[in-house]
């Protein structure tokens, strides 16, 4: 790094891949895998510390400095525990399910660009395991294959709660995969490529700076800003896709014990945990690559040309990923879990239509940009406004009908609906609560018998 020429940001293109000697490829693959495992070790610690901070308690702080080795200790403990195989399990599938989860989670890291071209032992090579022209599809395919680990793990345990967890997770991941895929479509349309390194380069290429009254204004070309709705929808569906709170329905503790991993123990359980955290890091890395400019430095730093060259890229990349992982943890520490039907409604009735309309609008904008004559342009904009106006005027009245009486609603239910409990049940007042009230009466007030608040005691009701 002595000559200024090296400072030029070297964007890897598709042509740069596939020329590495085998040992450099091996180093890159091992490095990506080590990154995944280390990210899990640190991620669990990070999550517990941050959630602890949010809940005003210390979190793990005993093992190693700041409790950093806590996860390692937990993992070792896990390895020494008994590996229980349930009697009713399908043994082969039960064994392979956690492995499938981990493999699919790690595979997606192969096409994530960690940095620009660097010099590794004298070879110029991009900091990315590999890239193909449809790299984003590879990521999506890997995450959709990851469902199998959870579904099969839930099924093969031969137990009810895991089966319910597996069912929930398959429905959930298919639904949110659709929203996720559609949110990435907007990125394809804007970048004009599906290769991850190409998308990073395209975001750098759409940086804009304008000067107004002597001040330089700079607008980064991050798709998180240009395509804000896509970014938000991507992040929401990523939370759903990774089964994280508030969308952790497949492993909802209060409903399903631990969902699909109820019957798992020892290292197989550890593998599921590994897959969950690697998935979280992977979707954060994908979000960084597709929406936050990838390994390129954020704006104030990017003024210095050297920031975007060589190994510096790793710093910005990891900083952005850690930021996104923090948001994941933040969500978990803040939001309560959704009910299953609310969750499905959010996916199909909110995210999906918004996404489709947004893609349509974006396509319209792209066509407008190519159109040269002003008259046609304004004609299209006017037409679009007219259509929106018409739809708003003709929208069906959303005022709520007054609810029908209860008995009528019950009668209107279709044949074969679930049985209903009796509608006139009343919870009897707890005798213990009454006693507490009576004992807390001050001794010198009134002097007579304590006031009885509730005249219908349980004994009377039973009579």
């Amino acid at each position: 790094m002595t000559t200024p020429a090296v400072y030029l940001a070297q964007d890897p293109t598709l042509a740069d891949f596939g020329h590495d000697p085998w040992w450099i490829s091996l180093i890159k693959v091992v490095a990506a895998f080590v990154f995944a495992v280390l990210a899990t070790l640190l991620g669990v610690w990070f999550e517990r510390r941050v959630v602890g901070f949010m809940q005003v308690r210390p979190g793990p702080n005993q093992v190693g400095p700041f409790g950093l080795l806590q996860t390692l200790a937990d993992g070792l403990k896990m390895a020494f525990k008994e590996d229980i195989l349930p009697k009713g399990a399908d043994k082969v599938v039960y064994f392979f399910a956690p492995t499938i989860s981990v493999i699919c989670a790690v595979t997606a890291l192969a096409v994530i660009p960690f940095g620009p071209m660097v010099s590794m032992f004298g070879h110029q090579t991009p900091l990315q395991v590999t890239d193909v022209s449809v790299a984003v599809l590879v990521i999506l395919a890997a995450s959709s294959m990851g469902i199998y680990g959870i579904v099969l793990g839930g099924w093969a345990s031969g137990s009810t709660y895991p089966l319910l967890g597996g069912l929930r997770s398959s429905a959930q991941m298919i639904s949110y995969e659709v929203a996720m895929g559609l949110s990435i479509v907007a990125v394809f349309m804007t970048a004009g490529t599906m290769s991850t390194s190409g998308i990073v380069a395209a975001q750098a290429g759409s940086d804009r700076s304008a000067s107004l009254g002597g001040f330089e204004f700079f607008a980064p070309g991050w798709y998180a800003i240009l395509l804000l709705p896509s970014f938000i929808i991507y992040f929401i569906s990523a939370v759903g896709e990774t089964n994280r709170a508030p969308f952790d329905l497949p492993e909802a503790e209060s409903e399903l014990v631990a969902g699909f991993m109820t019957e798992y123990s020892s290292l197989k359980f550890a593998l599921f945990m590994l897959a969950e955290y690697v998935n979280m890091v992977t979707v954060s890395a994908v979000a960084t690559t597709l929406f936050l400019g990838g390994w390129r430095a954020p704006w104030p730093i990017s003024i210095w040309d050297g920031a975007n060259s060589g190994w510096f890229g790793l710093i910005w990349f990891f900083a952005k990923v850690i930021l996104l992982v923090f948001v994941f943890v933040w969500l978990r520490g803040t939001l309560p879990r959704l009910r299953y039907d609310q969750f499905m409604r959010l996916g199909w009735r909110v995210l999906l239509p918004i996404n489709l309309v947004w893609i349509l609008a974006l396509a319209g904008i792209r066509v407008l940009q190519k159109e040269n004559s002003d008259a046609v342009r304004w004609g299209i904009i006017g037409g679009a406004l007219l259509v929106i106006l018409l739809i708003t005027l003709a929208w069906p009245d959303r005022r709520k009908q007054p609810p029908r009486p209860l008995q009528e609603q019950v009668n209107a239910r279709p044949q074969g609906s679930f049985p209903l409990p009796p509608m006139d049940l009343v919870v009897p007042p707890s005798p213990r609560a009454r006693r507490g009230v009576a004992q807390r009466q001050p001794a010198n007030v009134g002097g007579g018998a304590p006031d009885v608040v509730d005249t219908t005691s349980t004994e009377e009701k039973e009579d």
Partner: protein, 167 residues
């Protein structure tokens, strides 16, 4: 024979073998898993033929969504662990028709092409596929989308008998 030929043959053998296992196994969920292997091998075939977009879309849609939906339906109704002997019916007519159609088509293709070699077309990248689809084949594409929409609406109506009866 080049390496690509060997890969092609091997993947084809995997696909056919997994397909046979799908129909012969008497473990319900395992049949679904063999279907995954079969569809994955077909995706591999596409990849060897340099149609990478189609290959990954095959993995994404068929392996990642369609078979998961199948498994979902199986688990909602019944998902027995172990063998279910009632699945093992000798479907001789079906076997004859299926095997006959497969072998007949194979014979037809083998006879039509004999030893004439066909060059690989240009790699099936997203750009070339999109150009073809929206220039030459736009009408069939749109008709197909209308068909899918009709199927969607039909499925909703069939599954919701209470729709028409609302006051």
């Amino acid at each position: 024979m080049t390496g690509a030929d060997v890969l092609l043959l091997a993947l084809g053998a995997v696909a056919v073998g997994a397909g046979v296992l799908v129909v012969t196994t008497d473990q319900l969920v395992r049949a679904g898993l063999y279907l995954v292997v079969c569809l994955g091998a077909v995706a591999g075939l596409y990849l060897v033929l340099t149609a990478e977009l189609v290959a990954w879309v095959q993995v994404l849609i068929y392996v990642g969504a369609v078979v998961v939906l199948l498994l979902f339906a199986v688990m909602l109704t019944r998902a027995p662990i172990g063998r279910s002997p009632d699945l093992n019916r000798p479907g001789l007519p079906a076997a004859l028709i299926g095997g006959g159609a497969g072998l007949g088509l194979a014979a037809l293709f083998a006879d039509a092409f004999r030893w004439s070699a066909v060059d690989l077309p240009a790699p099936g990248t997203a750009e070339s596929l999109g150009t073809e689809l929206f220039r030459s084949w736009v009408l069939p594409f749109e008709v197909l989308s209308v068909l899918l929409l009709a199927a969607l609406v039909g499925a909703i109506i069939v599954s919701r008998p209470d729709i028409g009866s609302r006051p």
